[in-house]
């Protein structure tokens, strides 16, 4: 269970550009839930993910994982049980290493990074099998540098890598935004498969309203640092992209006034 309690966050505090983003922000995500988050730019989606992952610190408030406050943990400590996929496909992989080395690094997550051999050749077949599941033909390219793969292929590898080891949360930060529609669909299908297989608690930020309605158990819409729409279960299933688009337009009109 993930809880954000009374989160406050000011950007540029003390300057003329001071902007209050979160003013007593609260969110609870039960175990195993797949949450899709939509919202306009600057609504605080990515800031929320960053506060959960520790990439930025909240000014006040608690981040509780199973009741334990992790707000004082450093980002890398929190990532031990968090898998994260970024919008930028190059952030989830090492471009100058080959697929095998990349997957080995991910496979060793949580273990000590000592002087043992970095690549475990006995696991190669397992990696091939995982890559085969992607259906992108990467299983024959274990020795190809990741830097020479396409964005979609890299993102698929990044998704695999972030979910190879047991994890509490999967954080997806607009992970299909930089991909072409067809590749984005493949990655989204893959995401669904992994989330369901691993039964991992997932928060997915997306600008794609179709994905937001089609996938996930719960839909959040954020605006100016607060949740303005929160639908789960049956209610969510009955939502369609048009309704959300309509809501989006309403907000924009309000802003315009």
């Amino acid at each position: 269970m993930l809880e954000l309690k009374s989160i406050y966050k000011n950007y540029n505090a003390g300057s003329v550009n001071e902007m209050c983003l979160f003013d007593d922000f609260n969110l609870t995500v039960p175990d195993g839930q797949f949450v899709a988050v939509v919202g306009s730019n600057g609504s605080g989606k990515t800031s929320m993910l960053n506060i959960i992952c520790g990439s930025i610190q909240a000014d006040r408030g608690e981040v509780l994982v199973n009741g334990v406050n992790i707000a004082n943990q450093r980002d890398y400590q929190r990532h031990r049980t968090i898998g994260r996929v970024y919008q930028d496909p190059s952030k989830g992989t090492c471009p100058s290493m080959n697929i095998l080395e990349n997957m080995s690094i991910a496979d060793n997550k949580g273990k000590r990074y000592g002087l043992q051999s970095g690549v475990n050749h006995k696991r190669k077949d397992y990696y091939r099998e995982l890559l085969k599941g992607l259906g992108l033909g990467l299983e024959d390219k274990l020795y190809t540098k990741v830097g020479s793969l396409s964005g979609g292929q890299r993102q698929a590898v990044a998704l695999l890598m972030s979910t190879m080891t047991p994890l509490e949360f999967l954080i997806l930060d607009e992970h299909t935004a930089a991909l072409d529609p067809k590749t984005a669909d493949i990655i989204m299908e893959l995401t669904e498969k992994i989330v369901r297989e691993k039964k991992v608690t997932t928060i997915m930020v997306t600008h794609n309203l179709r994905y937001a309605t089609e996938y996930g158990d719960r839909l959040l819409m954020m605006h100016e640092g607060s949740v303005i729409l929160d639908k789960a279960g049956e209610e969510k299933k009955n939502m369609n992209p048009e309704q959300i688009m309509h809501l989006f337009n309403e907000i924009s009109v309000e802003c315009g006034n």
Partner: protein, 294 residues
Amino acid sequence: MALLVSVLEQGLCYAIMALGMYITYKILDFPDMTVDGGFPFGICLAVVMIRAGVQPILTLPICFAAGCLIGVCTGIIHVVFKVRDLLAGIIMMTGLYSINLRIAGRANLPMYDYYTIFDNRLMNGIFGAVPGLAKFQSVIILVVIVAVVKLILDWYLKTRSGLMLQAVGDNDVLVTSMGVDRGKVRIIGLAIANGMVALSGSIYAQQQRYFDVSMGTGTAVIGLASVIIGTALLKKLSFFKVTTSVIIGAIVYKACVAIAIKCGLQSTDLKLITAVLFLVILIITRDRKRKVEA
């Protein structure tokens, strides 16, 4: 022939330093100026120890360890106190100048009458037995040492820790995602690199048989030039490992300097040659352009 031997000796001495700079400059993307202080640090430490009666071969691991400590200091200044990479190195380099003077006790310190790893009873015995081999005594010993260091480095870069080191220069976001403190990995990298630089200094000390406080000036430039020549070479000859090509880079660089001096320049022009040659190499390989774009 004498010139070739001298180029090989110098080049191989500097090759280990260049391998260290390969770690900082290419893997960590950290232009580490600490080297200008760390290299003579290794030299003076080795000279002082040998004069004090320490076994020459023992100075190698001791200097490596001491160099690691220097690297850790640079790393802490950069990672913990958030000082920019170049400045962190310059701070260490400046401080080390005085530390080197303290260790040596004066600005230059000879050790012509002492045994070294190149000149001792065992080695003289072995090389004395084969006629004509004595000329290459230092070169052959250096080749063995450099090869061992290279193989250890190659092995290390394939370990889990080594892969993490490469990952941190490549994409430090991934390192964080793997639950590893990227600052710590950077400090480890700097420690190994500076350990190798001091090790290289201790070998150079035994080849030159004296310490002079100005010996370090320009070391970083020599190291960077070697790395850049080496990696540029690698693009043409891809069957070499990158560590091998850096070693070749160091020898090629020293050969260029030797040729320049042979062509009539004086040894007092050495630093100018070093600087101009580095500039020429940068322009030829266009490495700087890639850096600016990235």
